[in-house]
């Protein structure tokens, strides 16, 4: 990131955390288990000392898992996380315990993050006890100190979490995270469970504490506006992959990745006269067990590249085709029972006859030019015969573009360390903006 060195605010200091090709898969032990969920699917990140790094994404994007893997609350499937030069994915025993002091977490849900059978004092003191910091008396003093730093009073020491409001409980959680004087704190949606009125106060507190203790934050959120307010840099995550990363203002002002664009346009804009088009996110994310083979976003992307030979096909038709493919994909995820399999053999399979209905809906008033019609007819037949997998493959063959087939690379955009994960940054394709406007 040589370009970034020209800048001179505190965010371009040395790198504190360097994540390389990190993967976290769930549930792949056992021969007969279904394919693993790729919660984090090859992530590279650099978090600089002293910055607030935002990580946004819809639920299920893997952002929390990424945060937890950085803290060794989850064991990475592969890849490295180097913290100040040490690869922490392989730390064990007392080394791991010693390292843990450097990295702490504040959780989303203040109800669940505090053990409500312990007093607030015991909760905040527990990390100190676990690491044998100082004498009994010193620990108490330190807890009192922490409580007042986060805006609580000393006499709260002997109260139980039940006696506090959500915002106060979150303050307790913050005090606990700071007890061991960590360098790095993961803030896992720290305000999204709180009332709006309280959110701002907690954010301000977090900013003050960062200043005071030179903290590095990883701020995980699904609320884009909060991130814009507090973060220096942001990464946008989708299905286990970082789609775009860059400096906050720049990324918000001028998103270059189709996913980021869609996500940002989903925020209600304060100015109704803003004429930039609202890109809507059609559909739901695909199952993480069965992610697209090419770009993760290809099933929903408004800027998806069309394959050669279909330039003449109208926008509506193409839309209908993409949605039809979605339906077929859904079908392939359904496991057939024995009875259905027997029926399929005997040619009596009728479970999927409703596909006709769906096709009629989709292509209602939409022309089906000959270039597409054959493939569609074949696919419908296959689905009805109980072979949606064949249909899916045929459609992939026929209508699949580079977005369906190949994983994009992370392309450098601009000169401030911005990266975007999309084929459209390659020379041969139109850029994202014009593709969406089409």
């Amino acid at each position: 990131m040589s370009q970034a060195t020209q800048r001179h605010d505190d965010t371009d200091e040395e790198t504190l955390i360097e994540v390389r090709n990190l993967e976290k898969y769930y549930g792949d032990d056992g021969m007969f288990s279904p394919p693993p969920v790729k919660a984090v699917d090859g992530v590279d990140l650099d978090i600089k000392r002293g910055e607030t790094f935002g990580l946004v994404g819809e639920s299920g994007s893997g952002k929390s898992t990424l945060g937890r893997t950085l803290l060794r609350l989850e064991q990475a499937t592969s890849g490295t996380v180097s913290f100040d030069g040490t690869d922490i994915t392989t730390l064990e025993g007392s080394d791991l315990k010693r390292w843990r002091r450097n990295a702490q977490i504040v959780f989303q849900d203040p109800e669940s993050s505090l053990n409500d059978r312990m007093t607030v004092g015991e909760i905040v003191r527990e990390p100190l006890d676990a690491h044998d910091k100082g004498t009994e008396r010193e620990r108490r003093k330190r807890v009192m100190d922490l409580l007042s730093r986060v805006g609580l009073r000393e006499e709260h020491y002997y109260r139980y979490p039940h006696q506090f409001s959500g915002g106060q409980r979150q303050r307790v959680g913050i005090a606990r995270a700071l007890a061991l004087e960590p360098e790095f704190v993961v803030l896992d949606e720290p305000v999204s469970a709180l009332d709006v009125s309280v959110q701002a106060k907690i954010i301000t507190l977090l900013e003050d504490l960062q200043e005071e203790f030179d903290l590095t934050y990883l701020f995980i959120a699904h609320d884009l506006s909060v991130v814009r307010h507090i973060c220096d840099r942001v990464a946008v995550m989708y299905l286990g992959k970082i789609m775009e990363v860059g400096e906050t203002e720049e990324l918000y002002e001028d998103p270059v990745n189709p996913y980021t664009k869609s996500l940002l346009s989903a925020i209600p804009r304060p100015d109704p006269t803003d004429e930039s088009e609202r890109t809507t996110l059609p559909g739901t994310p695909p199952s993480p067990r069965d992610p697209p083979q090419g770009c993760q976003f290809s099933t929903r992307c408004p800027a998806k590249i069309r394959p050669e030979g279909f330039e003449e096909v109208s926008e509506e038709t193409w839309d209908a085709i993409e949605r039809f493919r979605e339906i077929v994909r859904e079908r392939t995820r359904v496991e057939l029972g024995t009875v259905d399999r027997v029926k399929r053999r005997a040619g009596l399979f009728s479970k999927y006859d409703d596909i006709d209905e769906a096709v009629k809906d989709l292509f209602d008033g939409v022309e089906r030019p000959p270039v597409v019609d054959d493939h569609l007819t074949y696919a419908v037949e296959q689905v009805k015969a109980g072979h949606p997998q064949d249909a899916r493959e045929r459609l992939h063959e026929a209508f699949g573009s580079v977005c369906d087939r190949e994983r994009p690379a992370h392309h450098q955009v601009g000169d401030r360390g911005r990266e975007s994960y999309c084929h459209r940054h390659r020379e041969e394709y139109d850029d994202v903006e014009s593709a969406i406007r089409r």
Binding site: I105, E111, Y157
Partner: protein
Amino acid sequence: MEEPTSRFDEDSTLRSRLEADPEPALRWAAVMAALALVQIGSLLGGLLSILDAAVVGVTAIFDVLFGLVGLTGASAAVVDVQSALSGAVTTARDAAEGLPTLLSRETIPNQGHLASADGPWVDTFLGLEPALAWAVRVLLIVGYSLFTFYWLFRGWLVFRAHYRQADWTPTDDMIDRLRDHRWGQFGIFVLALFLIMALFGPALGPTTVSQNIVSPYSHEVTYFNADAGAVETVAAGDANFNSKSKGAGDQNVGPMTYDNFNRFHPFGTLPNGRDLFTFMMGGARITLIVAGLAIGLSALIAGGLAMVSAFYGGNIDLTLLTTADGIVSVPRLLLLIMISAIFANHWLAGVLDGGFLLALIFAFTGWPFLWRAVRGPALQVAQEEWVDAAESFGQPPRTIMRKHMFPYITGYLLVYASMSTGGIIVGLAALSFLGNGLGITPPTPAWGRAVSLGQSYVSGPSWHISFIPGAMIVVLVTGLNALGDGIRDAIDPESAGGDDDEAAAGGGA
């Protein structure tokens, strides 16, 4: 929120708080001391009995372990240590029991005899008739004990009101809810009654186990012989022989009657002429010790394994599941019979008259049920973020389980433990009912044996032999269930609340 700063001081200790305001504590302690002093002899005796049992239990476990790994020498040494320690404790206990005790058979005797055909009574308390003397003693002991239980609870209230630093804890709510729970209180009351029977059994009976049941021929009974018109003496065994309840009109000593030897029988006599009430009190002690040991061990195993299951999940959980299913699939009674047969001549079968072995068997066959019951709650608490938090600052798994999971499953453990204790008590009675070397070794009293002895007289005048023990078992089991209900409602006022938590814990990416 009231302002608690007056009580707040970061460095204050319990002692300094006591010194600052000693009055409530002193008032409580004075009463407590008086209560203890009155019963000092039996109190110490009781404590030493428990100590004795503990010594036997702990050494037995070591002995079994050494035996398993083949260290016969070490195992023999353990037995030596055991008998030495146990001997010392027994001596101390005998000494302690020699101390004066107010509510004892010596101060309020009920065993006396008529001086002539129409009185007066000799040797009884204030010359009252034995039934009355006995009733006075029983009432005093029960009253005393219940009051003592209450006063202990009162001690906690005093601590809570005056000396605790937190003005509120989650336990307060549970206790307060239990205070409004009549059915649960019924359970506590029943359990307290049976505990009293077990603790003060020797003082409650109209006679004692050793006089009347274990060695009746070394004790004598003085009575007024109506036929001869004179006061005579006879061995208790002979007196028993002539006080049998065998269902016939002339061979029956029913509840609340005297036999021909001026002896009062609150529950009547057994077919062999022994006093049923004394028998039941002796049975209460062994039943509660065995059931308590068994359920305690079960709960310990089940709780520990449930947390391991929930914390590690995956293959460990699966292994436990298989093991538990395996144990459950063997019929319990069959297993009990088999193991009893195998160990029939082992010295272990002699500890607590066979009760210790039974407790072990019940514990090792019973934990899977408890484990299944608390695995759910354990899984739920393992999902809580505070567990992750503890992990994130490097708390070792053991500490996490103890500090962050155990407090949440103890409640459930208590609920299910109190409910399954009923099963153990019934099982124990069933074994003794079957007899043939199963269950508690005779002549030590066991409830099941009483039921069994009386079963052929159920429909005659000697109905009491089976009915009273049976009814007592029913009452105790019902009481334990009530207690379980009470605790459940206390820890979980509306079970609906738990579902929300689960949904919240399951959500989030």
